[in-house]
């Protein structure tokens, strides 16, 4: 079954949405529970709390202590994990089909019964800080954080999902538990399951597990739209190393906006196809993209370029990342980038470039559809900012984009006044001796 086929959607009386897709290619089932909560729902003082809650959700309940759950999943040969993002938090298990019931029970249980033991909160505090410190070791983390602070002066997309270190030091057990109780409830969740099962019996089992859980109140939302940016922001971050990096971020429309698909095509043309597969599928290189051809091959101002526009609820960022050639400068790289953007604003791309972008995305879609885990991912992921129609309409929407659309999008969004330019400048020489 490909990603393009529609699937039934069921909503229980307590508001829980269920998406099921039978796929009988392998004896596997992938089950995901999605909550509509992420770093978008945080304010200064509790930044990083959604991610910390995700960690605490692995600590256990009365019925299933942490080590029992871990071992049950591992014994079955399953894999499980969780992710916290801007708009959502999700938990998944991919299991041999005959062992999926353990995963279903664990997820229903921890939707309402997690303990949040104070001692475990404290031991996890240092783990979370260590996770952030590990990321801080990478120069690009600091650059990315600075760009977000500059891009979002009002909206809560401004902080890193991991949170500000100061908040990781002060968030308390009650804050975490409150956050959990506010956002983890059937009415704020979507379940997506794909794999080797019969829909009727799976639905029956889910109803048994979830129907008696209380609906939950409508959770509060941070609603602080970012005003239009009035002029380009430029910033530099200094740190160790020898490598200069330039990230350019343009304010961009949300996933549900009509300009989103033209912007995906524009990104494919400029920096190569990204795809949105989280598991499987692999990538397609970007050597024939306009920016690679110009900045890396022709002008030799960069050694690599990449780009991407995440699918989000609120307007977010379209980012272009460059590693500057050792013999070049950030100014030269920016000049070449601006030349290519100008070219797209002055004249539309040719039809063959558009057709290739669509072909590449179709291939990525086909590859992604071969993983049951990825199938279940798309089913829930799309619900977090739109609906599954967004997935089934994905290729059609890309095909409908015209050369004129791409030119219009470039003229509308890729403007200096709409962007943040961040430069990482090393102030030190590194260590690399044989």
């Amino acid at each position: 079954m490909t990603l393009l086929e529609p699937i039934p959607s069921i909503r229980l009386k307590n508001g829980l949405e269920i998406k099921l897709k039978e796929i009988h290619t392998a004896p596997l089932i992938s089950s995901w529970v999605w909550y509509r909560v992420g770093s978008r729902d945080e304010i200064p003082g509790i930044t990083g709390i959604s991610h910390w809650v995700e960690h605490m959700q692995f600590k256990g309940t009365e019925k299933y202590p942490a080590e029992v759950r871990e071992k049950n999943i591992a014994r079955a040969g399953g894999t499980w994990n969780a992710f916290t993002y801007l708009d959502w938090t999700t938990y998944f298990e991919t299991m041999p089909a005959d062992k999926i019931d353990q995963a279903l029970e664990i997820e229903a249980d921890r939707m309402v019964n997690s303990i949040y033991d104070p001692e475990e909160v404290e031991s996890e505090r240092t783990v979370i800080m260590s996770e952030r410190q590990g990321r801080e070791n990478s120069p690009s983390f600091w650059l990315n954080e600075a760009i977000h602070k500059a891009a979002f002066q009002i909206h809560s997309y401004s902080h890193m999902i991991l949170g500000d270190m100061v908040d990781l030091g002060t968030i308390q057990r009650e804050d975490l538990y409150q956050h959990y109780k506010t956002y983890y409830a059937p009415s704020n969740a979507v379940i997506s399951i794909a794999g080797d099962f019969e829909t009727e019996s799976m639905l029956k089992r889910l109803k048994t597990l979830y129907k008696d859980l209380p609906e939950g109140a409508d959770p509060p939302r941070v609603n602080r739209p970012e005003p239009t940016q009035r002029g380009e922001h430029r910033l530099t971050v200094e740190g160790p190393g020898d490598t200069v990096m330039v990230d350019v971020a343009y304010h961009a429309p949300p996933a549900s906006h009509e300009d989103f698909f033209p912007l995906l095509i524009l990104d494919s043309i400029l920096s190569g196809p990204q795809g949105l597969n989280m598991f499987g599928g692999g990538g397609i290189s970007n050597k024939t993209s306009r920016l690679y051809a110009k900045l890396v091959e022709e002008d030799e101002v960069a050694v690599s370029i990449s780009g991407g526009i995440p699918a989000t609820i609120d307007p977010y960022l379209y980012s272009i990342n460059m590693i500057v050639h050792p013999a070049s400068t950030p100014e030269a790289a920016l000049q070449s980038l601006d030349g290519e953007i100008q070219r797209l604003q002055d004249s539309p791309p040719n039809k063959e470039e558009l057709a290739r972008a669509v072909r590449q995305n179709r291939a990525l879609f086909a590859y992604g559809g071969e993983s049951i885990t990825n199938q279940a991912f798309w089913m829930g992921f799309s619900e977090m900012f739109a609906s599954y129609d967004w997935v089934t309409g994905y290729l059609g929407n890309l095909k409908a984009v015209t050369p004129g659309d791409v030119q219009r999008i470039a003229q509308k969004y890729l403007l200096p006044k709409n962007r943040i330019v961040g430069i990482y400048l090393p102030h030190n020489k590194g260590n690399n001796h044989s």
Binding site: G77, G134, N428, S434
Partner: protein, 431 residues
């Protein structure tokens, strides 16, 4: 269906002699094909004998440089034409070097396999290493090395190899050093390719929506006439002597928030008879559930690290058996002590029957997931061929796992894990 019938069905559904076609071409290439008609795509995976172990000492990184430059142009296609063909199809292809072999891999929709194979053959057989392209790749490699120098995990790992494999070919990083990459000339790439790239001991695996006989014809057409009489014998890796005592080094990198630890020993070869006990023992030590005993001690109980786990990287030669963790600099000693304590406990007493049953169940249960994708099957087949495990390896896999005992784990662990003779490498803020 009886339990026995169900077990037989499960075994039958695993790739094996009944659905893998293995062919040795006249020029020495071994081709393995396994069809999967539930898929829309096809995956290629393989290797040839051109890894970094063949690098001359002053030019470390030569194999890596050569592999990275192969796709910059051939006698038949320019760099632009190669990638135009690939990216227009929505396909991928790449060559990446390891220590023993240069690996290659690709993916396409099934209809495009003939194009993908033709491209693969062209870049393997006819690369021309254009001079200006060599300089572009050099800049990219040097930038990669600069980024490596800022990566505490990578630098700790390199430091481990230098301590544990002193005097052994495994001590060098396959991507070389700044000065050795600077020393490599375009002619070196041409010469390395001419000498080491060839069909002898080359393996290619193709899985997906294909018919074996069609694939055989395609591979014969594209690679069947390739020959290279100059290819040397396959590199024989010597044993690596264990350290006389625990040896420690710290690689300082300014302005880092976290320090990385890599500690451990030289481990067994993949073909060692005690490999499976060591493999399952390693899982109990630092992988199962939340990173095994090590994860429980360092992350769950002490809250010192986001990650702390063990790895057994057995290869053709004696690969490393290591434990890695990332911790705040002030917790470095505490974390190393906790890890050492776990190693001591691990070789003092046998694992419990329950611990063993857990990892056995895990290793057997996770097979279907690891074989779900074409690339997963290709990877399994490549491992089977690399280590001569036999086409029925997966059918016998469950028994090999079940045959491991607590005593065999203790014996394997004691042979290699010695808490008084560890290589301990750390990288992070100056101490």
């Amino acid at each position: 269906m009886s339990k026995q019938e169900f077990a037989a069905l499960k075994t039958e559904s695993l790739p094996g002699p009944h659905d893998i076609t293995r062919t040795e071409l006249g020029n020495g290439i071994v081709l393995l094909v396994r069809p999967n008609h539930k898929s829309l795509s096809v995956a290629i995976s393989g290797f040839l004998q051109a890894g970094s172990l063949y690098d001359p000492e002053p030019k470390l990184g030569l194999a890596d440089f050569t592999a990275t430059t192969l796709m910059r142009g051939t006698a038949n296609r320019t760099f632009g034409e190669i990638y135009n063909e690939l990216e227009s199809m929505g396909a991928s292809l790449g060559v990446s070097p390891g220590a023993h072999t240069a690996g290659f891999g690709g993916k396409s929709l099934a209809d495009d396999l003939p194009h993908l194979l033709a491209l693969l053959a062209d870049v393997l057989i006819h690369p021309i290493f254009p001079k200006s392209d060599v300089e572009k790749v050099r800049s990219q490699l040097l930038t990669g090395l600069e980024l490596r120098a800022q990566d505490t995990g990578e630098m700790a790992s390199m430091g481990f190899d230098q301590i544990a494999y002193a005097g052994h070919p495994y001590r060098h990083p396959s991507d070389g050093y700044l000065e050795t990459i600077q020393a490599i000339k375009q002619k070196d790439l041409v010469d390395f390719h001419a000498r080491h790239y060839g069909p002898r001991e080359m393996v290619i695996v193709i899985t997906g929506a294909v018919k074996p006989e069609t694939v055989l014809t395609l591979v014969e057409e594209s690679l069947g006439n390739w020959s290279n009489p100059d290819q040397p014998d396959v590199f024989q890796v010597p044993e690596a002597a264990p350290l006389g005592e625990t040896t420690r080094a710290h690689h300082p990198i300014e302005e880092k928030s976290q320090a990385d630890i890599v500690l451990g020993v030289v481990g067994p070869r993949r073909k060692w008879e005690g490999f499976y006990p060591a493999l399952l023992g390693n899982s109990i030590l630092g992988q199962f559930g939340m990173m095994g005993r090590i994860g429980d001690s360092v992350r769950v109980q002490a809250g010192l690290a986001y990650y702390a786990y063990s790895s057994l990287s057995s290869s053709i030669g004696p690969g490393p058996w290591t434990i890695a963790a990332g911790v705040a600099p002030e917790n470095l000693e505490k974390a190393i002590d906790l890890i050492k304590t776990e190693i001591k406990k691990f070789i003092a007493e046998p694992v419990t029957p329950q611990e063993l049953a857990d990892v056995q169940s895990n290793y057997i249960g996770r097979l279907p997931l690891s074989l779900e994708s074409n690339s997963g099957v290709a990877s399994a087949l490549l491992t089977m061929e690399r280590h001569q495990l036999g086409l029925d390896y997966l059918q016998g896999y469950e028994k090999m796992i079940r045959d491991v005992t607590p005593d065999s784990i203790l014996e394997a662990s004691r042979k290699y894990l010695d808490p008084d003779r560890l290589a301990i490498s750390t990288a992070g803020p100056p101490l």
